[in-house]
């Protein structure tokens, strides 16, 4: 099973990718890429089982959210189905001091940061727009405008350097998540410029799920995305995004390189969005069923399950218990989502300015007066 030179799996796209676990659940001990970097993982059985639990849990929570949306309990949902390995692997690769800048789809990363999975549900339910403390969770707010967060991450990373928090193994590193579509945005390319020039301790983690809503990858690039980094003077690595081990190994190495002062890395996680873009989308309009089928064979969870089974690291009882506990979490999540209160209307005037504003105060007061005028009437 050992394969010191293997980079291209049978299922790899042209140009290859780093894969440490095949779709059939076979381990590749380590992979050495063209630039001489060797990637491997060294997990205990406990840790392997932990990753499996993560994957199953984030998929189950995601399915619950999809169901909640269908039942009218969420305004919209952006599912991570199919991208669990990319997210869990990279999320687990973060060290506690690291900072993450997500898009709107990184529920799996969020979970690995030990954040209560309910945190983003206010946004999708429409009761708020996120509303958490980026620094407390070391996980920035969900960002909807495509690509903008890559600049925020880069600026934050410049601040890490200015604070003297790089150059040692316990330094800090920053990861920015974005999609294949985002790579076309000017702002993302400016982030590449900045990160290169300031040697920022950054990992750019691109989940290439093959689509930007309906548009296939070819609408964004004519070469593999990981090669974009070369144009800006830092390394780009493609990984099998459905392989949680590769995702962990390469992200960990890139983060450690960043925290050690070696500057940015671009990781392209080659994966697939198994579901719709969001609950508002109808993917049958733009892609064929057989494509989806072919990706099912590369499922991130079944390959890890196969591995755990073959290696006798886990048994049916374990798998059943994981499913059950994921289900419990999901049902708990459901209950708590249903219990989320609608905000009081006048809270919309909160938090417009840190120092407040007489204008906003006056409008809030008029709003209150106006509503008071209806009191007792049928309104």
């Amino acid at each position: 099973m050992a394969n010191g030179e293997r980079e291209v799996g049978a299922d790899a796209p042209a140009g290859g990718f780093v894969q440490l676990l095949t779709p059939d659940g076979d381990r590749i001990d380590s992979v050495t890429t063209a630039d001489g970097t060797t990637y491997s993982v060294d997990f205990t059985d406990e840790e392997y089982r932990g990753l499996y639990r993560d994957l199953v849990t984030v998929r189950r929570l995601d399915a619950e959210a999809t169901a909640l949306q269908r039942q009218g309990e969420l305004g919209i949902w952006a599912s991570l189905l199919g991208q669990e390995a990319a997210q869990v692997g990279s999320g687990r690769a973060l060290r506690p001091q690291d900072m993450a800048f997500p898009t709107y789809r990184e529920h799996g990363v969020l979970y690995t940061r030990s954040i209560d999975p309910i945190m983003p549900f206010g946004l999708f339910r429409g009761v708020d727009q996120g509303g958490w403390d980026a620094n407390e969770h070391r996980f920035n707010g969900y960002t909807i405008v495509i690509g903008s967060q890559t600049l925020h991450a880069t600026g934050y990373a410049m601040g890490v350097t200015m604070d003297g928090k790089t150059g040692t193994p316990d330094g800090e590193a920053v990861i920015a998540y974005f999609g294949d579509g985002a790579t076309s945005q000017g702002e993302v390319n400016e982030a590449f410029v900045w990160a290169g020039v300031f040697n920022a301790p950054m990992v750019f983690f691109c989940q290439n799920n093959q689509y930007a809503i309906s548009e296939p990858l070819e609408r964004q690039t004519r070469i593999p995305l990981y090669r974009r980094a070369a144009g800006f003077g830092f390394p780009g690595v493609r990984i099998d995004g459905n392989d949680v081990l590769a995702s962990f190994a390469v992200t960990r190495a890139a983060l450690d390189s960043a925290r050690n002062g070696q500057g940015p890395t671009l990781i392209e996680a080659y994966t697939y969005r198994m579901g719709a873009h969001t609950s508002s989308d109808d993917p049958t309009r733009y892609r064929i069923a057989s494509e989806v089928e072919s990706w099912k064979a590369k499922d991130p969870i079944s390959r890890l399950k196969a591995f755990l089974t073959k290696q006798q690291v886990a048994d049916e009882a374990f798998f059943t218990e994981v499913d059950e506990s994921a289900k419990t979490l999901a049902l708990d999540l459901r209950e708590r989502v249903l219990a989320m209160p609608d905000p009081a209307p006048d809270t919309m005037f909160d938090h417009v300015y840190p120092n407040g504003s007489h204008e906003v105060d006056a409008q809030r007061a008029r709003f209150a007066d106006y509503h008071a005028s209806f009191e007792g009437s049928e309104h």
């Binding site: 919209i76 495509i146 945005q185 000017g186 930007a212 309906s214 919309m348 309104h379």
Partner: protein
């Protein structure tokens, strides 16, 4: 391309009852048919037919040289449209949602708006920038904004919006035919509202693109609205009628330039004006309308021009948007305040 040309049957010019979204789709189709230089470009406008299906079926019928799924970058969409226009094309660009036009703002404000001026009239950019705008659809952040003032304040751009299917059908074609660069706002929450549209009507007889329309005649006060708020204003006028107040409703249609003659004539008659829009009030269209009406109808006004607008806060979370958006009650409240002045 000719396969869907509807020129064949002149007798068949009864109206069809279709949604505003479908009317736009028909209008785009007809523009593509009538001028081979018209091209549609944007994110997901091709195979998907746009997230609101406004370009549904057009890729199939006109091919990917005419209906272009672009990379995900709004500055790129508008910037390449500028180049295509210099080359002689007439690009119709779709911005997917109001809140995503800002990456293209530099191209729109510094290039699209200014190239005709800069070139002393030598370079025309007959570009239409379609933007679904406004709230009321329960969406997440950036999907419900009303950024029209940013464009209407910019010399060199013309800005229009439609409020009903018939106007949608005619105005999109007029905008595409016009040599002016036009920002075309589409009232996204009205996409599904139906109305009668004469699909065979010819543009030559259409109501002028930059004219306001008196949508309901009245004598007691003038409601000035546009896009999604026209329906709200009409509903308010109906409700007011029950209380014996006879409100005139004007659909501005063109936000830059505004057809002030129609407005002044109305306010001189009614003596009162209330502007309704979703955008934040501060330095919005309503401010300009109020200032102009006051200057030009100073001695006719019984009360100051009042404004019913979004608040000066970021667009709030969906669950409170109904409290943010002007509605029938807030309009009537303003009418009351006007009468009580």
């Amino acid at each position: 391309m000719a396969e869907l040309n509807r020129g064949g049957n002149p007798q068949q010019n009864r109206g069809e009852t279709i949604t505003l979204g479908k009317a736009l789709n028909h209008g785009l189709r007809r523009s593509l048919e009538q001028d081979s230089k018209v091209v549609i470009m944007g994110e997901d406008v091709g195979k998907l037919g746009g997230v609101f299906r406004i370009t549904d079926g057009l890729l199939k019928d006109f091919g990917d040289d005419r209906v272009i799924d672009t990379p995900l970058a709004e500055a790129g969409i508008i910037g390449t449209a500028v180049g295509l226009a210099i080359r002689g094309y007439r690009p119709v660009c779709e911005i997917q949602f109001d809140g995503f036009v800002f990456p293209a703002y530099n191209q729109i404000v510094a290039q699209v708006a200014k190239m005709f001026y800069r070139s002393k009239g030598n370079v025309r950019l007959p570009i239409v920038i379609r933007i679904p705008f406004g709230g009321g659809i329960g969406a997440v952040e950036h999907h419900s904004e009303s950024p029209e003032a940013y464009f209407a304040h910019t010399p060199g751009l013309k800005v229009v919006t439609c409020s009903n299917p018939a106007d949608a059908y005619a105005m999109i074609q007029q905008a595409i035919t016009s040599d002016d660069p036009i920002v075309f706002f589409e009232p996204k929450r009205r996409y599904w509202e139906k109305g009668e549209v004469d699909l065979d009507a010819d543009l030559s007889g259409a109501f002028p693109l930059h004219s306001a329309r008196v949508t309901r005649e009245g004598t007691d006060a003038t409601l000035l609205a546009y896009g999604p708020m026209v329906r709200t204003a009409l509903d308010a006028a109906s409700a007011a009628a029950e209380d014996g107040r006879n409100l005139e409703v004007i659909d501005l249609r063109s936000l830059s330039p505004v057809d002030y003659d129609t407005i002044y004539a109305s306010v001189r008659k009614t003596g009162r004006a209330i502007v309704v829009h979703e955008a934040p009030g501060n330095i919005g269209l309503g401010a300009e309308l109020a200032a102009r009406v006051t200057e030009h109808c100073f001695y006719n006004l019984e009360a100051p021009v009042l404004r019913v607008t979004g608040y000066d806060i970021p667009y709030p979370a969906a669950r409170v948007e109904e409290d943010y958006l002007p509605d029938l009650d807030r309009v009537l409240d303003a009418v009351d305040r006007s009468f009580g002045w």
